[in-house]
């Protein structure tokens, strides 16, 4: 696993990042190395997001490349979580919320008529801010939840295999293999969050969205999750919302900076580019002010 991860990282670095602007990323020559594990590219075209009359996000066009970790940073209330939730059609669960613009998953419009949001969420998994294992289920059942929650008979042996593979994938197997039948809520916070990641990857999504996955965790648990992100991007497309700039710098390949001009105005995408460039030589003044800690 470690060896494979190292190789892929080298590959990723070898491909020049095409993410100067979303427009160039759409070109055919912008395709990165061969996508592994069915990771898919997400593209947003001029997306506006609303809560009733309030516009939370305006005019965001962005490409989230497969097999990379894309960090969404920005101050509180700038719409990055809202934007993330639009990517797997969770935004519309809020009463009155609506979406304008186009979001595609490998060129398929996820908001097209006739598209089943349930199907979209199967392909685009999500890990939430606070660890939220199902409190009535054991560790095993939590990981298998995606399989059994979706009906259909899954053989016990097959389930066992998926559970083990997912827990290993989330770096949790060794810690919980002897207490798979214990309640998932009995684990520590960091373990619970990794359990939630295992649960999300058990259904084999193609994209993994993470909404501040470490904000409720201590530094050691945070580091464990960040390592995991580095490995998961070999198989999945990853978008991660974070408040923590060090985390964006450590764990992501691409960083998108969101900002809002003033309270009450919608959040906008200010700049997106390779993480290193965003943190060392941003093109926009607002980005520089933010990453240098002048506000936010």
């Amino acid at each position: 696993m470690q060896g494979a991860a190292g190789a892929t990282r080298a590959e990723v670095e070898a491909v020049p990042s095409p993410l100067k602007t979303p427009a160039t990323a759409n070109g055919a020559d912008a395709a990165p190395g061969p996508a592994q594990g069915g990771a898919k590219r997400i593209e947003a075209h001029d997306v506006d997001l609303f809560y009733g009359d309030f516009q939370a996000v305006a005019g965001v066009s962005v490409t989230i490349e497969p097999n990379k970790a894309t960090a969404l940073i920005g101050s509180s209330g700038c719409g990055k979580t809202t934007f993330l939730r639009a990517l797997n059609r969770m935004h519309e669960l809020t009463p009155g919320a609506r979406v304008e613009g186009r979001i595609t998953l490998d060129d398929q419009d996820i908001y097209a008529k006739g598209v089943d949001p349930v199907q979209v969420r199967r392909l685009v998994g999500m890990v939430f801010q606070a660890p939220n294992p199902f409190p009535t289920m054991s560790v095993y059942e939590n990981v298998a939840a995606g399989l059994s929650l979706n009906g259909g008979r899954v053989k016990k042996a097959e389930k066992d295999e998926v559970v083990e593979r997912s827990l290993r994938g989330a770096h949790l197997w060794n810690e919980v293999k002897d207490r798979l039948d214990k309640p998932g809520s009995g684990l520590s916070g960091g373990q619970q969050q990794r359990l939630c990641i295992a649960r999300a990857i058990a259904v084999e999504p193609e994209v993994l969205l993470m909404d501040e996955p470490c904000s409720a965790l201590d530094p050691v648990a945070t580091l464990a999750i960040e390592d995991l992100i580095g490995e998961l991007k070999n198989r999945y497309t990853i978008a991660i919302v974070t408040h923590n700039m060090q985390q964006a710098a450590r764990a992501s390949d691409v960083t998108a900076f969101f900002n809002l001009e003033e309270t009450g105005k919608p959040g906008r995408l200010v700049e997106i580019g390779p993480t290193e460039r965003i943190f060392t030589s941003p093109q926009e003044q607002a980005t520089e002010d933010y990453v240098s800690g002048r506000f936010g």
């Binding site: 669960l93 349930v118 969420r121 998994g125 939430f128 199902f134 409190p135 649960r199």
Partner: protein, 302 residues
Amino acid sequence: MQAPPETNTLLATPLGGRLWRRKTVNWVMTGLIVAAFAIALIPLFSLLFEVAKRGIPGLSWEFFTSSPRGVIGGGGAAHAIVGTLVITAVTAAISVPIGIMAAIYLTEYGGKSRLRRVLTFFVDVMTGIPSIVAGLFAFALFAIFLGPGIRLGVMGSVALSVLMIPIVIRSSEEVLKIVPNHLREASYALGTPKWRTIVKVVLPTAFAGLVTGVMIAVARIVGETAPLLVTTGVVDSINSNPFEGRMQNLAVYAYSEYRTPGVMKQASYDRAWAAALTLIAIVMILNLAARFVYRHYRTEIR
């Protein structure tokens, strides 16, 4: 630029000057609250004590195992115990599915719709319906189909359901509301349809609370008298078929033993008190069962 005059409020009054006053107020208020609590408990204990004192002499093997024997009196309340259990079971079988499903509609599907607001309003109104009205409703309903004067166990169950459904809806709604939204979202994010999320995540998480709510609703209707008097009638023999003939129950039995005692009046009165005691015991057992279920199956919700 004048400096504010030095004021030290601590020293403005002698230290401790207010402390005495505050302690006194605290003492008085504590006393009042304890007194209010005691006053609330007095009737409860007095009632329990009285029912136990007068009910225990009437309790006997015969009381639990036999039905009344003719005009001479004697016999027991077996028919009424069976009737109470059957009527209550049928009531629960009608009310629990309807009540829980209605609560699921209100919390999971209703949103902010007009229908939801209208339903909530009428549920609130229904919780205040006088029980005799519920009895007359069932009486009139069955009279349409089966002719006037009909008396059936199931009529009593329908009448009690009118009383029980709103209680189940209210308690289930409250319990479903406290299932945190992030659990629903976690389930949706796995690509789980809404109905399956409700069945597999929301209901199991709320299970203990739902059971407790149902038990308390049962305890509330098990002692109803008036609606059963007009729907299930008074009868002296065991009838366990709710769809055939009259059916006795403990509350009506206590009432009729007192109202029309047999030849040996005191024995009838004893049986009435014993029936009341049995009823209280049933309610108490249900409440204890609810607590047990709650303790053992509740889900820690954060």
